[in-house]
Amino acid sequence: MHWQDTGFVLSVRRHGENGAVLSLFTRDHGRAAGFVHGGTSRRLRGVLQPGNRVTAAWSGRLAESLGHFSVELAEPLSALLLEDALALAALNAVCAILDTAMAEREAHADIFDATGVLLTALCASPPREWLALYTRWELGLLSSLGFGLDLSRCAVTGAGEGLEYVSPKTGHAVTAAAAGGYAPRLLRLPAYLGGARDYPIREQLADGLALGRHFLEKRLFADRGRGLPQARTMLEERFFAAGGKTADIKNS
């Protein structure tokens, strides 16, 4: 068996003296693992950093073998983010979520493409833009894996306008009027996720992160007995810690 693909490095585990087991999220072969000879060597250590885009060739005797990877760096995304604490936290969260949530060898080209757009934005866009994209990416991931939310219309009235809340149980949107006294028990739906075109302000991004966290935890990670990856929790902590310093994500 032999295939070639492009992928993002998700994690690297040291194996033996110089080798490593690499977990890649590839476009046409989904999340795939393989042994890399000299994976912890000086030459490859920089290449096998989480978030880097690589061109990989996998070979194994059988499709279900662990197999071997040979990799070449295509885009050094992690090197561009080392100095930016918030972007680095987001990169860690993306890699940890994909590494834990994606089934092995199940192709999801849509998630792969969305991840590519998100990681490029992490390097090139201001935090307010990529944070909005990040929260959309989480909801997109849920949707693509079959756990999507219905944010198109109100679950109670059927209205398509004025959606301000999401039911934490069903994941359906609810208007402010329909929510009534139940509002404090619902999750807030930020306007930019409900279809508004304005750039989100800080509170809305916080709502977007809370929404993603709740449904990732409830729908994707609860059954796996692991809980939300630590990197995702650290991203949210970093977001709130950065509030005073990152002018770009302060209230506009």
């Binding site: 003296e17 920089g46 978030g51 050094p76 561009l80 080392l82 604490a85 810690a241």
Partner: protein, 197 residues
Amino acid sequence: MADGELERLIALLARLPGLGPRSARRAVLHLIKKRETLLLPLAAAMEDVAEKVKTCRICGNLDTAEICSICRDPRRERSLLCVVEEVADLWALERAGAFRGVYHVLGGVLSALDGVGPDDLGIDALIERIGSGEISEVILATNATVDGQTTAHYITDRLSSMDVKVSRLAHGVPVGGELDYLDDGTLAAALKARRPF
């Protein structure tokens, strides 16, 4: 074939980094050939190290005393503290001879994958040490890897409320490095961190 003690020595040496059973066997044969000049001094030196070497209770360096020679040295600048991942990094900085302050060894980096959290590293001891007030600048010399820099950012956060300057090592073109031979990641980081000339 060797048996008994010899086989045991070969098996133990084969567990060292860079050695396999074949090279361990060669090393053992060489040691036996040089019994007086190599084998006995090596055995004595290893026994000494096993008995005497301790972890410094201030910085985490390895030394024969409770407090290592760097922490004891009165000529060191105690207001400068360099934070490194491992003792090997401390030794590398000492070999360069460019740093005259004191160190703090974390003993690893934060890693969600390996389940290493802030409590598993010497970060609380570091904060306590900095809180004593003697230190005016903390230099974060963690590796230029995702985990290393995540750890550096975490420490910076923890230090944000303290009256201490925090700096980190530069990332970029190494001395003697030719651009043509540099890896893409280093080049990208060097370009991003360019400065006025």
